[in-house]
Symmetry: D2
Subunit: 350 residues, 4 copies
Amino acid sequence: MNFISDNTAGASPRVMSALAAANEGPAAGYGADDWSRRVEERFGALFEREVAAFLVTTGTAANALALASLVRPWGAVLTHRESHVVEDECGAPEFFSDGAKLIELPGTGAKLTAATVTEALDHRQPGSFHNVQPQALSITQATACGTVYTPAEVRALRDASQARGLAFHMDGARFANAVASLGCSPAEITWKAGIDVLSFGGTKNGAWAAEAVIFFDKAMAEEMTWRRKRAGQTLSKGRFLGAQFEGLLAQDHWLDLARHANAQARRLSEAVAAGDKARLAWPVEANEVFIILPPALHATLQAAGVRYHPWSTRSLAPENALQPGEILARFVMSFATDPAEVTRLIALIG
Amino acid sequence: MNFISDNTAGASPRVMSALAAANEGPAAGYGADDWSRRVEERFGALFEREVAAFLVTTGTAANALALASLVRPWGAVLTHRESHVVEDECGAPEFFSDGAKLIELPGTGAKLTAATVTEALDHRQPGSFHNVQPQALSITQATACGTVYTPAEVRALRDASQARGLAFHMDGARFANAVASLGCSPAEITWKAGIDVLSFGGTKNGAWAAEAVIFFDKAMAEEMTWRRKRAGQTLSKGRFLGAQFEGLLAQDHWLDLARHANAQARRLSEAVAAGDKARLAWPVEANEVFIILPPALHATLQAAGVRYHPWSTRSLAPENALQPGEILARFVMSFATDPAEVTRLIALIG
Amino acid sequence: MNFISDNTAGASPRVMSALAAANEGPAAGYGADDWSRRVEERFGALFEREVAAFLVTTGTAANALALASLVRPWGAVLTHRESHVVEDECGAPEFFSDGAKLIELPGTGAKLTAATVTEALDHRQPGSFHNVQPQALSITQATACGTVYTPAEVRALRDASQARGLAFHMDGARFANAVASLGCSPAEITWKAGIDVLSFGGTKNGAWAAEAVIFFDKAMAEEMTWRRKRAGQTLSKGRFLGAQFEGLLAQDHWLDLARHANAQARRLSEAVAAGDKARLAWPVEANEVFIILPPALHATLQAAGVRYHPWSTRSLAPENALQPGEILARFVMSFATDPAEVTRLIALIG
Amino acid sequence: MNFISDNTAGASPRVMSALAAANEGPAAGYGADDWSRRVEERFGALFEREVAAFLVTTGTAANALALASLVRPWGAVLTHRESHVVEDECGAPEFFSDGAKLIELPGTGAKLTAATVTEALDHRQPGSFHNVQPQALSITQATACGTVYTPAEVRALRDASQARGLAFHMDGARFANAVASLGCSPAEITWKAGIDVLSFGGTKNGAWAAEAVIFFDKAMAEEMTWRRKRAGQTLSKGRFLGAQFEGLLAQDHWLDLARHANAQARRLSEAVAAGDKARLAWPVEANEVFIILPPALHATLQAAGVRYHPWSTRSLAPENALQPGEILARFVMSFATDPAEVTRLIALIG
């Protein structure tokens, strides 16, 4: 029973089929293939407007390329201190942006609020050449804590940052889980709420290695062709990326995969909430479940071969602080999670 | 009939099978999977010594990461002026190395000679802080002109550069074609001839997107884990890269694929040499055929739907200069090239 | 009456004399002149050990070059969130280090404690390639709040960071003021307490533009010759930098200049403490006085043409919080501050 | 007798006087001082149009900041292969531009021709994302060989590069010598001939350390405030830079200094041309004299304590090639060169 991450799974069978179908005959190289072109159109349809979509292989590359497009080397990105760009990308945003700064902000459940953003901006004098200049805001959807921003929350962040001219990026490594959870349209939670650039995640959703940097304003994308190539992210066999997204996007497969993962997370969280063996760290809104485990239960799970990640307690609300011996653990569901395994887990933990 | 490049093909069926086989059950993320580990061992066996192998998705990333490991930001890489790192990577080596310089050297057939390297080094005062410091030599095997370095030639380059302490990199995007052509062991043409780091190409050979940076001295690889991650090249589903190489390396499939491509190139070149319709620009030693086409033949081929790349004439020997109207054209064979198509091409051109 | 900063003054007359004396005849370029060589020896004598000293023109350059020597591009520097490298250098450390990260830590009076450093390190998993790697600790002496670290405090910070192998940098833009305040030897507060590299400030002390990056371990300085040149900080007329430092260092002139500035600050602070018109924000330990001004007094000072900087209240202890209308103001004394002006200021504020 | 370089001299007495005059009372920091403001106006008057002038301390910084303002990280600068930016700045242009490339072009006397620029541009496909993009042209005035571009030659280079949208930079480390030699106005040889940005050299001309990056189109300068600060080139005591330029620019002192240096170079070159002991490598058009010395004369000069630089023979025309034992030597005159010493040198060499 492996609940370590949603990237421990392989690829969805439909993605494999799409790859097999794409493996016939010659195709133009470096993203000039039909698959890549069709996928850009498909993203346009999905988001209800023309977009520029750049396919890459990792979420780190997608985020770093997106942010580098939005800030100057002396610019700064406001973001949550537990965000992936801060904690898990080994400085890729700084590298791709030639040295821009991530300004780390706090917030419960790994979410930023408009008030926090406003305060951070007020602290910094606009236009001073002594300081790095805030030029972008980046949020994660769904967040590192498995929580989700509503369209109204995204809009409020946009309002707080727009006065200072900040561009707005969404790290959507788990965008599918967020959209499936919110039940809104992809457009509503992105550009209609003020997002300029989205990292649309395919890998955790069910691809092998496929992410898209989606610009809702094509003018912002003018330099991406060079940025992507120079970063070693322009695949010569571009159809490999295009085909994976074709597999995901056809017939809303991406949402079905995310709904499955979310549903398993909900099953587990409801069982924990209903039981008295453990407690939830915060609400479960996507495909990740954060559970505070008493020591005995932790031992039981380990003995049963259940695998999960211990997690930083920085996001815990004070009233929810750990008791001695307790640990905070993350359980992640993916498209490939077997409901029977969740049932077995529930039997142990619920 | 598409002879544009060896990256217009998809993946070899065996690579697809390896991917399908790897698609079962959970696996550790970020290169800690069994496939990646096994592939590193396999490379060790192939090269007859322990190696450090870092899998990435593009040749540009492989080369740029390799060179960045060998030079400081104020360092310089000696390389041929028609090499991929100079001409086709949009400044990726400069980006990954934080600004190191590529010193472009001439040479017929896109090959460097020891004399050229010696002269370039003699021109530069060692240790002066006014100048960038030559710290690496990079050659391409097979070259951009489809020619091949022999082990003796590689060793001579090593001897010319060793006195000044240069590290030695081989861009092996078409390493398989070179090894198949030379008939030597992978060890003989690499570390036994003085190569420190090899970009081992999988993509043009028959993978979707798989390259390996292979360090023959593991001490040189100590920082690569961070470099690769920070460059967005550490795939979360690392088995995708490992499985492709397993498909290629098992039972010398990689060499069989390269032999097929080389054989088709040889067929074409022998036909051209035997005929009187066109002439070869220089000897064909791997899977690329460079042909000087008279205008009428060029028109005939275009009309027949044959696709190929016009090529820069910079590498042509003076005695082989183009006549008015002639063009220099590149025809590339891949693992997927249909011999029947080559037969049809020969009928037109031979 | 200008108390804006200690860089509003020109150069000390002795520095001007040293420049005039150095202006005769030819001298070798780019730091190979006698003045630069003598100054390095002088620093060796001052610090009671052989050092490598690199002269540059600004404190920003000195700090950024020093930190870039200590961390890799995926490295991180622990430092106070109000330090000059964080707040006032427009991202120079990130630029010079090719993208390393400054990890901002809190602390009253702009000082770090060993406990804060330990906690920050404990939070970060050593050796993980997902995260940037803490590789250096940087403190400011005297701090941005005009406070001073004692040798014991510096040693405690060293002890807290040494286990994780961090190098230790001191930003000494106001090093002279700190040494004059502590009454210890330069060696005691630097390498004897664990400092590896010091930015020794000349400009605020009384030079035109002269700072020295001093390495106590010459092995750490091996690449600085290239770093400095490549950063445009290697002056062709290097004697200009050397002569300024000769002017400062001869006969402890640097300490006399700092003692003057510190004494004026002490006069003002004692008057404020003795009076009831305003209160000190925190103890005055060097040449800067931070005063909480009631609105009426602020108006009086402005009307009298007294110039000073409003300051961020982030460092104020909660029990010292501003009352409505109050402002926190910084008054800086320099070598050139006229005691008569301080007397006049005291008459207004004391 | 030291003819090593024009940077072996100290500062002109008038520059020292200007510094002394500027050393009274407080002044605003970081370039907001009156001296810096006045100098920008003075440059405006000198160039007969409003300009943006950014003062820095070294020619390397001036050039690197200027070029970084003109090209993107994946951009390229066409320049002569013997230019200072290529040969003598240790990769500073690459560093400041975050990795842009210098494309090295040949040309006799270290000068570029329109034909060479056109050929280099024709070789590169505009807009391809595989290649770095030529975005600027940089020439040196006077050149590294002491030759000078006429306004017509500059205009021809502009015409050759404008079609591809290249910005145009002039490295004027010896701009004064060029203007004094040409007898034209500063405007005629810069913006009226198509130059966008000029590195106006003060140091070799007679300052301690003062260079100005002058933008003729202020829109191009919008980011320079941040670039300069972030590069550690924004002096806190900005009047130090302003005052040096005030000393140089008042009453055409800069031109008088350059005329003196040029006149001494002319005296020497005329004597060499008239004599039969040695021969000139190429015409002397500014303050540098390149002389081919027979071995015996070289020995005589060395014995007499004459100091000069041996020079690369790459720029020698084939018909002027060295005979066995001959060396090519550079003699540089400065504002401080004593005519009596030139007389003594002429006695030896003329």
